[in-house]
């Protein structure tokens, strides 16, 4: 074994600060890849750190939770039109900037694969396994005409803003 081996008990004690928050709540508002990705990275990391982690998916944040085989969602023509302009499903999320009709996300995903960065699809499975609570916003579901069966499996029951804020009271909260 190399001489670089060092016992780090003292270092660890010095580096580690008291963690007052044992909960993490993320409001996932955006459906953009460059926001969905860090949302899932922080969510899985929070859970890995033993934090009780909840992600509330609201507004555009809900579209990435739609099942891949759903092409058009919504009950009326306006909701259907929305889903055709912004195709639901995690595989179809766009970049907030430099989207270039999908070339941007494709390049970003290629770079991620080359650098062994987990894809959003892998991260959402990891999140479920680590016990992250993924909560769809009921109001947004009504607004966009999304139904429980349109969304991927493994989500919590849809809830409202009150649930989100009660959950957030003693937590670190992020709005992404």
């Amino acid at each position: 074994m190399a001489a670089t081996v060092e016992a780090v008990r003292e270092t660890t004690e010095r580096e580690v600060r008291h963690v007052p928050h044992r909960k993490l709540v993320i409001m996932a508002w955006s459906g953009d890849l460059d926001r969905v990705w860090p949302t899932l990275i922080l969510g899985t990391t929070g859970a890995a750190m033993g934090m009780e982690t909840t992600i509330f998916f609201t507004f555009w944040g809900l579209f990435p939770l739609v099942k891949e085989d759903m092409r058009i969602t919504g009950d009326n023509w306006m909701q259907k039109l929305l889903s055709t302009m912004d195709r639901p499903g995690l595989e179809h999320v766009k970049l907030g900037k430099m989207n270039f009709a999908g070339a941007g996300p494709a390049m970003m995903r290629k770079l991620a694969r080359d650098h062994h960065v987990a894809s959003p699809e892998e991260l959402i499975e990891l999140a479920k396994d680590l016990g992250v609570k993924l909560v769809p916003c009921q109001m947004t579901m009504d607004l966009l005409g999304l139904h429980r069966e349109d969304l991927i499996d493994g989500l919590e029951e849809p809830a409202g803003a009150t649930t989100a804020l009660v959950e957030a009271q003693d937590a670190i909260t992020l709005f992404i």
Partner: protein, 77 residues
């Protein structure tokens, strides 16, 4: 407390958050006091494992580096 390594997790080549997230998954399978060895090449994993250890109660017993590979030895708390 046993000094033998119960499991080795090879996260060489993988980027944040996988080394930590997979470690959290792996440590669930171990008993308290068991040693988990993690190998990683992500330089960010050095501060991350120290921070993770402090916030989870799993002890970072040893940290070393050889040819760009970081080795973390963690005792399940």
């Amino acid at each position: 407390m046993s000094a033998t390594i119960a499991r080795t997790l090879d996260m060489k080549g993988f980027a944040c958050p996988l080394p930590i997230a997979k470690t959290a998954q792996a440590i669930r399978e171990l008993a308290v006091g068991d040693l988990l060895e993690v190998l990683a090449t992500d330089p960010g994993s050095v501060p991350d494992f120290a921070a993770w250890s402090g916030s989870t109660g799993h002890e970072l017993v040893e940290r070393s580096e050889e040819d760009g590979v970081f080795r973390f030895l963690i005792r399940k708390g």
